[in-house]
């Protein structure tokens, strides 16, 4: 399992990369993609949708299963990554390079972990 030291992690296996104080990219972790297997479809939110902490904003389907994608922040969807919507398998090959949505107007950040804590968290879950 890979982690990226510069980003934060949620207990539901999303990662958050802050671009500034109120804007962030959100994606799925390497652990999540490994658990889910070959990803084939993402149900994306629309630009302008509100997202809030620990609440699903979309779902992602692998060949075998479907899983919610939860928001790690309160804010507004500024952009959805159309390239990932078209090619969800990119998350399998490059989870930290494949952001799913960009959130702006962030007013609240959920309980997040740094890379070391997240690695321990996954080991305990496994």
């Amino acid at each position: 399992m890979k982690v990226d030291k510069d980003i934060k992690y949620s207990k539901t296996h999303e990662w958050v990369k802050f671009l500034d104080d109120t804007t962030a990219l959100i994606g799925l972790t390497d652990y999540a993609q490994e658990q889910l297997g070959d990803l084939v479809f993402i149900n994306m939110p629309a630009e302008g949708d509100e997202v809030s902490c620990d609440t699903p904003f979309g779902d992602i389907e692998s060949v075998k299963a479907v899983s919610d994608i939860n928001s790690p922040v309160d804010g507004i969807v500024a952009e959805v990554n159309e390239e990932i919507a078209e090619n969800p398998e990119n998350i399998n090959s490059d989870p930290y390079g494949s952001w799913i949505i960009k959130v702006s107007n962030i007013t609240e950040i959920c309980d997040l972990m740094d890379a070391d804590s997240y690695e321990r968290f996954c080991q305990e879950e496994a």
Partner: protein, 362 residues
């Protein structure tokens, strides 16, 4: 209780992601993932551990009479060395299980059924036996490996003489592969050319390793339950607990070929004759909207519920999702547009011909 098959160490070695299935720990996939495993079987070859399958033997002078009574297909003309698919029905014409039956001799047959129905099948058959016929559960005496894909014959040829390879679909023989005693059967659950090999548990690891080694140059990879499911679904092969249940008749499930109503009495025949004009039928669906239909998603036309899905997945060979499900017969024409409700969303689909995938015969 989690049982391990004799091939457990091979799965660990190939980094299989282990899950519980019908009480057994089996790989849902290996390192390459479901899509690559699926395509390997369509284009080259895949190797599956299907040791969880049930092997029951019916033996004795009255074996055939019992089989004719207990199973819905007709075995009167079945030859030694032939395999036949059948359903086993309850008194209401519903399906107890589906299985393949191997004829070894006039007095010896092997019934291979679903792992999830192991006890149910044994008890059902046992409770209906009559005359001179014994039922023996020999599930633990066999490991079963499924070698599936267009290259499977060439791979077997590296490990045995051609005379040990059954030339026809749904036939079998007993012979040696890599020097190990096997039942070698040209059967499978993938819609592809392939073989199922039954051997003693202590031979299983050696047989697996010999096949993997012999298959290397042909692109053979190990495949898990995930690919087994997507492959059977593309081939529109029904799965018990999904397309078949105790309440569903084989006619509704489009398994007419597994039932011979013109043979003498068998369990479920009378009820089945009364259920001929059922209003629902199994159909295939191509998902044209966004999303993946899974099992038990309701299906609508103009807001009216007309059916439900029984299985659904992304189909790796086609690159879009497909599903099987029951639909009111009046709406079952190919091309009919339906809406599935999937997790609160509406996903468009249309009735399509099955099987979704049919291999081209050379």
């Amino acid at each position: 209780m989690q049982l391990k098959t004799p091939l457990y160490e091979c799965h660990k070695r190939h980094k299989g992601k282990m899950v519980e299935f019908a009480g057994y720990l089996l790989p849902v996939q290996y390192e390459q993932g479901v899509i690559k495993e699926h395509l390997a079987v369509r284009e080259k070859c895949g190797l599956f551990d299907v040791s969880h399958m049930t092997e029951l033997f019916l033996e004795g002078e009255d074996a055939l009479k019992n089989i004719q009574k207990i199973f819905a297909n007709d075995f009167a003309e079945t030859k030694i060395g032939q395999v036949k698919y059948t359903t086993m029905l309850n008194e209401d014409g519903g399906i107890v299980d589906d299985m393949v039956i191997y004829k070894f001799s006039d007095t010896k047959y092997m019934v291979v059924g679903n792992a999830a129905n192991h006890e149910k099948d044994y008890n059902w058959i046992k409770s209906h036996l009559f005359g001179n016929c014994t039922l023996t559960d020999r599930t633990n005496d066999y490991a079963q490996l499924a070698l599936q894909g267009p290259a499977s014959t060439e791979i077997l040829k590296k490990l045995t003489e051609e005379s040990n390879i059954p030339a026809k679909y749904y036939t079998f023989l007993e012979g040696k592969i890599a020097g190990l005693d096997c039942i070698i059967s040209q059967t499978g659950y993938t819609g592809e050319l392939g073989y199922e090999l039954y051997t003693a548990p202590h031979n299983a690891v050696k047989l697996w390793d010999e096949l993997i080694q012999a298959g290397k140059d042909f692109g053979l990879i190990p495949c898990g339950l995930g690919a087994r499911d997507t492959l059977r679904l593309e081939a529109a092969m029904p799965l018990y607990g999904h397309e078949m249940t105790d309440d569903i008749t084989p006619l509704e499930a489009k398994l007419n070929f597994s039932v011979k109503l013109n043979k003498e009495d068998f369990i479920g025949k009378t009820a089945l004759e009364k259920r001929m004009d059922s209003s629902r039928v199994l159909a295939g669906f191509k998902i044209t909207g966004k999303g993946i239909v899974r099992e038990q998603n309701d299906m609508f036309i103009d807001g009216k519920k007309v059916g439900f899905s029984t299985s659904g997945t992304h189909a790796p060979y086609f690159g879009y999702p497909i599903a099987l499900g029951y639909i009111d017969k009046q709406y079952s024409a190919i091309g009919t547009k339906v809406i599935f409700k999937v997790r609160g969303r509406e996903v468009e689909a249309e009735v399509t011909a099955t099987p979704f995938y049919k291999r081209s015969k050379k």
